[in-house]
């Protein structure tokens, strides 16, 4: 789906740097950022939290039927990554195919182009992940 300029602009801290939230009351990490801790609700003490970007693959798929904007990328690997701090997020794993992937693989965040609305439109950047070489 095409995203507007303001929508993209307000997501920059989260999408460019993996900036999320930490609840100081229960020590739970959240990504993307939240204003209410779903565990503590009104007792929660939410602060901004910079994730390390390291994590492990919790599950993955290889996309063959792409959404608009990703046609030239297929096939590509999407994964749920469990960040080292405990929160999980969804992102692409770059430079690999399914055959290179296993649940539990160690990954780290990289900064990449996500998609662009059209050839002359806004270019959206953000986080993806790559496998950590052993």
């Amino acid at each position: 789906m095409k995203e507007s300029i303001p929508l993209t602009w307000r997501k920059i801290p989260d999408r460019y740097r993996l900036l999320g939230s930490l609840c100081k009351n229960c020590n739970s990490h959240y990504f993307p950022a939240r204003h209410v801790c779903p565990k503590c609700r009104r007792k929660g003490k939410i602060e901004s939290y910079q994730f390390s970007g390291r994590g492990r693959v919790f599950s993955f798929t290889e996309i063959h039927a792409p959404p608009a904007g990703f046609e030239e990328q297929i096939p590509y690997v999407m994964a749920i990554v469990e960040l080292a701090e405990g929160a999980r997020c969804t992102g692409e794993i770059v430079d690999v195919l399914k055959k290179d992937m296993q649940i539990g693989d160690e990954v780290e965040m990289v900064f990449r182009k996500i998609q662009s609305n059209d050839p002359e439109g806004l270019i959206h950047y953000g986080f993806k992940f790559k496998k950590v070489k052993k």
């Binding site: 798929t61 063959h64 969804t90 992102g91 649940i103």
Partner: protein
């Protein structure tokens, strides 16, 4: 609260209705349900309709009013309900609560989606909105991709195979072949599924439900006056709904749907029945993996055993627990907002002994299970034949 019964049901054929639009489909289903209840329409005091994405798919919002208008039901109060793929069951639940509470007596509940006016890529993107648009879809995930990640984790945790996934599609096509209203009435083999085009590994095109046009409707009335309208009222003995995180990645387990487990437990408690008493079930098989998780979440099989049970034919008509006798979302089709109501229609026909070639013998208690998105909404209803 009052006991509530379904006193009339109706649905269109599910499929690609190039010649017919949203209002034609929903009107046909509604008129059939009223005819089935022997009503003129004057008895109806309120309406609820489930539709996920009419605004995106046909550019039409305000669909409640549109439907009341075209059904000739003005000036009744009518309300649209949305919960992605569970919109139909949410509408049914609203109608049920309206009658049970005494706020309304006779209520019509519809579900509808017109999905083939746009091309497939556009429709897929709109359906992606059932997940987390900003933090899943925008980053490159697709809706099948989310279920593919559930499938991968399920296969990893329980040593399940792609053949087990495929067996769901094979069985649902077999059931669909006995349903004249199903979108697909052809049988397929496990090899056909395995050889079909990859969508989001490990899910292939034949693991996925299709894009469908269709509508379904039911008429609800207080149980104590239900016999005025039909000889075979179907009592809704439980209605439970639960929610979970919008994004799949925020759930502790993705090899099951927690909201469905919670809704199922609540529904069994309300109805005072156990999973082993359910004789027929319509479950949300938007992808084959979803049915394996559903039959476990509903307690028909223990966790991790659904794949083997499906491969062994235990969910076919005539076996331990017949699942998706209509053909399910896979073969009957999945006009998103209509699906939850179609499930209620199919269970009603089964409990009335009106399901033709696909009749489950001795069916007296049935269940429907409808999931929104990747599991952020789940609704379970239990139905009983009134003796």
């Amino acid at each position: 609260m009052r006991k509530v019964a379904i006193v009339g049901v109706g649905m269109t054929k599910f499929g690609e209705h190039w010649e017919r639009g949203f209002r034609d489909l929903v009107t046909e289903a509604g008129v059939k349900a009223l005819e089935d209840a022997g009503m003129s329409g004057a008895e109806i005091s309120a309406g609820y309709v489930g539709t996920m994405a009419a605004g995106s798919l046909i550019g039409q919002e305000h669909t409640g009013a549109l439907i009341a208008d075209y059904m000739g039901l003005n000036p009744i109060p009518i309300t649209r309900v949305e919960g992605a793929c569970a919109s139909g069951s949410l509408a049914l639940r609203q109608g049920l609560m309206a009658v049970a509470s005494g706020m309304h007596d006779v209520v019509v509940v519809g579900g509808v989606e017109k999905m083939t006016d746009l091309d497939t890529a556009e429709v897929s993107e709109i359906l992606g909105g059932a997940g987390d648009q900003e933090w899943e879809l925008f980053l490159g995930a697709t809706f099948p991709g989310l279920y593919a990640m559930m499938a991968r984790r399920y296969m990893h945790d329980y040593k399940a195979t792609e053949e087990m996934l495929a067996s769901v599609a094979v069985k649902n096509h077999k059931h669909g072949s006995m349903n004249p209203l199903a979108q697909f009435q052809n049988e397929i083999t496990i090899q056909d599924v395995l050889d079909s085009k990859m969508v989001a590994d490990p899910l292939k095109i034949l693991d996925c439900s299709p894009l469908t046009d269709g509508a379904a409707a039911v008429v609800l009335a207080p149980l104590d006056i239900a016999k005025k309208y039909t000889d075979t009222p179907i009592e809704i003995v439980a209605s439970a709904q639960a929610s979970d995180t919008i994004a799949l990645h925020n759930r502790s387990s993705i090899a099951g749907v927690k909201a469905a487990q919670i809704a199922a437990q609540a529904a069994y408690k309300q109805a005072g029945v156990s999973p082993s008493q359910i004789r027929v079930a319509e479950v949300h098989d938007c992808f084959t993996i979803a049915e394996l998780m559903a039959i476990e979440d509903l307690g028909f099989f223990s966790k991790g055993k659904g794949g083997e049970a499906s491969l062994n034919g235990e969910t076919q008509i005539g076996a331990k627990i017949p699942v998706n006798t209509s053909g399910g979302l896979k073969a009957c089709g999945h006009p998103v907002g209509a699906t939850g109501i179609k499930q209620a229609v199919e269970i009603s026909w089964q409990l009335q002994g009106e399901a033709g070639k696909r009749q489950v013998s001795g069916a007296d208690i049935g269940l429907s299970h409808n999931v929104g998105g990747s599991g952020a909404t789940a609704v379970v209803h239990i139905y009983k034949r009134v003796n």
